[in-house]
Symmetry: C2
Subunit: 234 residues, 2 copies
């Protein structure tokens, strides 16, 4: 029988908070892991802690410090501005990778989460990537997740010994509005989540991440419980 | 034309020091990266620095601090002893993964090295894994390295945009004695390298890593330039 422990990659955003709710619904013991990598919006770590607390697993919330280890992104480098006011077409153009792409971020997160999962004997890992409304990041695509599953099998003792750790990406084929509906239906503590790349409270409402989130709530017909710096029609 | 920068994963041991020599021979600008992950033999970091210094790249030697992020190995956990005095058959049994296996270590190292390579515009990465005389670690096998190449292509902007970063594992099919001969022929600073899992100077001579290293030098007909705590016949 596989372990009921699941490591959940929790940024503190809408997607990963919904992922926590899915893992909880599916009966897993939650082991959230959150990464500090010098992101300008490090305020999301506070959201991650609040989400972990809402699920009563704050005592086993693993915060991994990768400061200084990841560079080359608008999210980490002072000299690259975070874009604002982009159109939906620009944001969701599959052929354009935005400056908010963080080199190999999901790969690093998955690798450390896998090591943690292996060391605690977890049977599953959750990641909240989604391939629709996803900003064109290559490391959110289903084919990347599939290739990582193969690495997991070949590069670990667990895999070599046939103790498969499942990699679950339950939001992979959902739109943002479907993610909102799923999160709401599972009572995910979305009021504690934070998505704004600028890291402000209230959220800016004009960065890519805010815009995709707002659009998701609007299409779901739900008012976002977090405050924004600009008026939004829900 | 691809970049002449190469990120070299440098532990400070025999294999990675030889890898530095190969990358240098092949004309790359060396960007060594070394990981501290709470290993008991953290003295290898000093060796890595000396090797970087020998190649005049100490000023760009990146030391990544992963302390507390990797657990579940004899190399990291106080409560698990480092085995000594094992027979060659035990050490090289492909079906047995030793307690010195570190969960997802090479995957984490490769992922962070890849992010670094992408952010500095490197055209190649070197890793000194070898599939012979390798202690049975799953993450040293050629099939794991191959699976990582696919991840590199799918999970990065570089890969998605067709700027391939090459992953080179030039020691992959060499025995330890062949690695010694290669290192010696390229004037690799093997006198600065350190392999002992117990982290002692002189090296213990009886842990798996010392034993495989000694055997390599003996079969190559070369005296190891580093000191051992027990008498060795070269």
């Amino acid at each position: 029988m596989s372990s009921s422990k699941a490591v959940v990659i929790l940024s503190g955003g809408l997607d990963s908070t919904t992922c926590m709710a899915v893992a909880k619904r599916d009966g897993y013991e939650l082991y959230p892991i959150t990464f500090y990598y010098g992101q300008k919006h490090s305020i999301e770590l506070e959201s991650a802690k609040q989400v972990a607390d809402a699920y009563h697993v704050l005592d086993r919330h693993f915060i991994a410090n990768l400061q200084g280890m990841i560079k080359g992104s608008a999210l980490t480098d002072e000299e690259i501005d975070i874009p604002t006011g982009r159109s939906l077409e620009e944001m969701t153009d599959e052929n354009e990778i935005p400056v908010t792409y963080v080199p190999a971020r999901n790969l690093i997160f998955l690798s450390i989460a896998l090591s943690y999962a292996e060391s605690i004997g977890a049977g599953a890992m959750f990641i909240g990537v989604n391939a629709l409304d996803y900003s064109g990041y290559p490391d959110c695509r289903p084919e990347f997740i599939d290739s990582f599953r193969r690495v997991m099998q070949l590069g670990t003792a667990a895999g070599a010994q046939g103790h498969t750790i499942e990699l679950l990406a339950p939001l992979q084929h959902l739109s943002k509005s479907e993610i909102v509906r799923l999160g709401v239906s599972l009572d995910a503590p979305l009021e504690h989540s934070h998505s704004c790349y600028q890291g402000t409270i209230p959220s800016c409402g004009i960065c890519d991440s805010c815009q995709l989130r707002i659009k998701g709530f609007q299409e779901a017909g739900v008012a976002d419980p977090i405050p924004y710096a600009i008026p939004i029609q829900w």
